[in-house]
Symmetry: C2
Subunit: 381 residues, 2 copies
């Protein structure tokens, strides 16, 4: 009797220990889920969120690979990026028709799915394996939903140590998908707002430009040339951002110039030229009221300064001229030279580059010109 009791206790103890191990494992996974949620939400860059979501799915599921597929409503397709776990380098874009494959099924039904024997599952789409040269052994796949609407699918492929995916995994991956949905939605909102800002600035610059019938598309070209030059100067993303806004708004001060002067088909007399020169200061004054745009003022105010101090509005010399202004200056002058005016034809690209080279070191910054010339040689300008 005592012996039997003893055995029961042993059984109980083993039961408790197993239960304990499982729950301890779950605790670790929940702590990991919490950390992954933090990492996901630490960026408002949509591409970063997507990459982190795939990495998180791979890590949380202890899988060989993770992938995130997003729904493209226009094309009625899922497009996805595959992160092959440790072999991170192989991230590829492959479109998938809705309903096609495991992911297509999950996207269509809005329900999660575990497939531990893909070769026996008619929903499995071998095409992806063929193209990625990846052998899918088993797969776990959950919908990514924003306010009840499926916007995509999160997957993990091939559980490590030869195991199969289970219900516990499904619950964890579903929680992760909820966090992915939130992070993606925040990034989307931020990106849309940023686009709204840029498009508004560009549209207003366009409208101002239209008052001057001889400069159609000038702002857009100056912006493109400036950004291309900056890439060759290896500028950081944040510098590129300020440069872009600065280039878009560089002539914003023309809002305050009389349209008789702006539209004059002949060469300007000295007084009219002096009036035109005001646009640099006027632009800076407009921007000065916008707290968050402090960083673009140098580009707007000083894009007509020259290295030797003969420019305007302040006659700044050499290193006193901010780099952002030096970049816009080259782009602006190149565009002015290569476009037609009522009183002269535009120069050819070759002649314009030649002229910029002649004036670099006196009017233009040498290094900026070299970057511009390199971009030109590569056919990017």
């Amino acid at each position: 009797m005592a012996n039997k009791n003893h055995q029961n206790k042993n059984v109980n103890l083993n039961g408790w220990m197993n239960k304990f191990k499982r729950i301890e494992e779950k605790t670790k996974k929940l702590a990991l889920l919490s950390r992954l949620g933090q990492i996901l939400n630490s960026t408002l860059d949509h591409k970063d969120v997507r990459r982190r979501a795939m990495e998180a799915a791979t890590q949380l599921m202890e899988a060989e690979a993770g992938s995130l597929l997003l729904f493209d409503e226009e094309k009625n397709q899922l497009y996805f990026e595959v992160a092959l776990g440790d072999q991170e380098e192989a991230i590829r874009k492959i479109p998938l028709n809705i309903g096609e494959g495991i992911a297509g099924w999950v996207a269509q039904k809005g329900e999660p799915l575990i497939v531990n024997t893909p070769e026996k599952d008619t929903r499995f789409f071998k095409g992806v394996d063929d193209r990625t040269e990846f052998k899918t052994r088993n797969i776990i796949c959950v919908p990514v939903k924003v306010k009840e609407k499926t916007i995509g699918v999160l997957e993990a492929i091939n559980k490590k140590k030869g195991e199969e995916f289970n219900e516990e995994d499904l619950s964890l991956l579903t929680s992760l998908a909820d966090q992915v949905a939130i992070a993606l939605d925040n990034a989307r909102l931020y990106q849309e707002l940023e686009e709204m800002f840029f498009q508004t600035a560009e549209s207003l610059a366009d409208a101002i430009e239209k008052r001057d019938p001889y400069t159609g598309g000038h702002t857009q070209r100056v912006t493109k040339y400036s950004l291309t030059t900056a890439r060759y100067l290896k500028k950081k993303p944040v510098e590129m951002k300020w440069l872009k806004i600065s280039a878009v708004l560089h002539d914003i001060g023309k809002i305050g110039i009389d349209d008789q002067i702006l539209r004059k088909p002949d060469r300007l007399d000295p007084e009219e030229y002096n009036a035109i020169k005001q646009h640099a200061d006027m632009g800076a004054e407009i921007i000065d009221h916008i707290k968050q745009l402090k960083n673009i003022i140098p580009g707007v105010k000083y894009h007509h300064e020259q290295l030797d101090g003969t420019g305007y509005p302040e006659g700044l010399k050499g290193e006193k001229i901010p780099i952002i202004a030096k970049i816009v200056a080259v782009a602006d002058t190149y565009d002015a030279m290569t476009t037609d005016r009522p009183y002269r034809r535009g120069l050819s690209k070759e002649l314009a580059i030649k002229e910029l080279r002649r004036c670099s070191g006196t009017q233009f910054d040498q290094e900026v010109f070299e970057a511009f010339a390199k971009a030109y040689e590569k056919g990017e300008i």
Copy 2:
């Protein structure tokens, strides 16, 4: 011997069961932490994040109250909002000098703190209890850090069931604070971008307005009047947002009007008046290129339409005129009437309201006018 073994097993079993209960508790808390993180990140509204952070701290710590204090660098103060758990209504703003109180200490040192006997702790600041009529029994307080920089402090006050805060609580609250930091930072970035957008739109509207020397401050006033009217019409936040942008940009089309006409000190002749009328369509054309601003086109394009169909550009009648345009129309006309022109003095407020009333039902929407008049009577216009 057998008996002793048996006892050992019992002891072990109890030990395992306790350990199991603790870890089971922790698992629940981690799952809760994960959910709270989702809730925190599901908004980009700074105020919402703050409120959710306090509620999350209260819930996670099983406390009577939670509070979030944020650092104001200019004033070198912490300001905080107290959420008194179930007695939610009592959210108050109280400033706290840096270094002052438990929270001030945590903010200054950047280290977490548990105080289970506040009455014996010299750092404890009774002033807050006095002002909130709240009795602090114990307190747990952790720094909120963005990229190693302390931006605030998250607290929970009075553990329920008469318990004290422990190290496990500290670890959980620290994780929550990390999530709060991320959510606050995202909301701040979004808010800054939104401000940049509004300020840029306002500055450009101002600059365009400056070409017309008789309308200083017009845009700002029309925006203010429109929003005030909309509040009395009980418009939703999202409608208010579109109305605001629409009011700011309602005259954007004037960018394309000759400055001789804009600046003419005398009354316009019919041909000039026809040219001025173009600004409604021109404004809509500019905005038409901005995908995210589709919703403001009605306000920009139709703010000169009249109920009886005698307005421009399309001569729309009654219900065909969008509500956003009807609101801007009343605000715009009131401001035009009450400001001086070179050829006439502006009307008094009373006379202008009288004139609007006379024309409501034919020129202006009755309901919109009533809302405007109510705001005027309350001294808000």
